[in-house]
Amino acid sequence: MATHFAVMVIVIPLMSALLTPVIGWWKKELCYPWAVAVLLVTVVCSIGVLNQVITGGPFSYYLGGWSPPWGIEYAIDYLNAFVLIIISFVALTVGIYSKKSVQKEMPEKVVPFYTLFLLLVTGLFGIVVTGDLFNVFVFLEIGALSCYALIAIGRDGAPFAAFRYIIMGTIGASFYLIGVGYLYMATGSLNMHDVAQLLPELYDSKVVLTAGIFMVVGISIEMALYPLHAWAPNAYADAPSTVSALIAPLMTKVAAYLMIRVMFTVFKPSFFIETIPVTTVLTWMAAVAIVLGSIYAIAQTDLKKMLSYSVVAQIGYIALGIGLANRYGLTGAVLHILNEALTKGCVFLVAGAIVYKMGACNIYDFKNLYRKMPFTMSAFLIGAFSMVGIPPTCGFFSKIYLIMGAIDAGKWIFVAVLLFSSILNVVYFFRVIQIATFEKPMPDYGRDKAYESVRMDEVPLSMLIPIQVMAVGILLAGIFSSKIISTAIQFVIPVGF
């Protein structure tokens, strides 16, 4: 039974997404409870998968009973199960949050919204859980199509941002497909583990080299790694608030997972270190991404645009960890995927709450926001601590591992970049907190104390609880980070590192 969880985690959201229009056009109010129930079942399934991997080791599931490489295989190991839990948890939290936000921003589009929500979650699960190279492309396109549509219904400049995302996302997915085609031409198989076995004797073939470069470039476009990041800031900023909170923590991190899969499972890491210096290029691009992303974030006045540039910078951290390709670097990268998902989920949910209350999110309008929305802003504070890397939040531990990885590889410049970027993060996050907490609006003549007249005006409970859950999650992930690493992450590292 437990092995069937791996398939149920895809089948349940998929079949529910097909049923959502039927339910929704019968009774519109049922869409939200239906979606939340489905996401809850998915969280249970993904916990079951992780449990199965921890107690029984990695397992495979043959779809349709055909053994690989003639059929499609689901190969679940520690990395898969770990990312599955992250996705399902973030999706559930944003799903619970979405009720009031969707009602306010797009009330007549509730039914297709929840359908595409569940389809997006299906697509993300499909990329993570599969062990077949072409299957990744199919589910990548399911997720991407849902993303394009969900972004395009946002605020004013959203369709243009969605179109730019369509063009660049299609280039990325098609480059990945060309890479898979070259691998098929060289080895004759599409199964990840089969190709990994057949590939070592072909490492000096130019076809394999071309395949590797195309796949890495394609996945980098999906991952929004500088300089291929141009679609990300506008797409995440102009989307509706629920959609930003769903896509920003998840889409790029799943692409980062795919990069780890391609670089460490399909191709052995020695290929990317010795044969073609992809890891060197990756680390330098990551360093540029970290610095430039943070600098662009400082220059923004719109909260969501600032957070989107922060996503670009944080992807630089994960790419740096992957590119360093040693034990500490990879541990830091995988832990940072967890950290990023929770933190970006938290801060984008806070941004959505601010938009719900104030209609827009220009940071210079945030005066006295701390008194109006204390719970929301304290969650934002925890998120900011995690971005900067202050203990005991999870961000501190992932940064420590990345710094140790850089020291281990002897590249002191990256240590300097990591420390410098923490300072940049402090600048843009604490500017928001300073305006919200310490600046008082113009004194209201006729009253004695201006700040007493500001009453607490929080967002509704269905939006507040998910924000607090995410913030608590960041703290818990930090406190238990060593346990997380010893249980799940340390088995992700391939042997020999």
Partner: protein, 94 residues
């Protein structure tokens, strides 16, 4: 943008031309693609799936999961168009 586009196609073209050297000849029946996984499809498709069309057998049986994904893609595209383009007509209660 035209400069960026030109640089991009020069780089991509160079990479593709670089990769052509080790490609198997066109139509080689013993290339890895034609000799690793496919012979079993051709030999066993008829007796295991009772379908004379091998492409259908692979599409619907061996790799039926990809076909399910493909139909989901069509459904997603349809819902995406409904989400983006459907306008409520005036006077229609909901």
């Amino acid at each position: 943008m035209k400069v960026v586009a030109t640089i991009l196609i020069i780089l991509t073209g160079a990479l593709l031309i670089y990769g052509v050297e080790d490609m198997p000849d066109w139509g080689d029946p013993n290339s890895p693609a034609n000799s690793h996984v496919s012979p079993k499809y051709i030999q066993e498709a008829l007796e295991k799936t009772a379908t004379p069309n091998i492409v259908t057998a692979v599409l619907a049986d061996y790799r039926g999961y990809d076909t399910m994904g493909e139909t989901t893609v069509i459904f997603t595209a349809g819902m995406a168009c409904i989400l983006m383009l459907r306008k409520k007509r005036k006077g229609e209660g909901d």
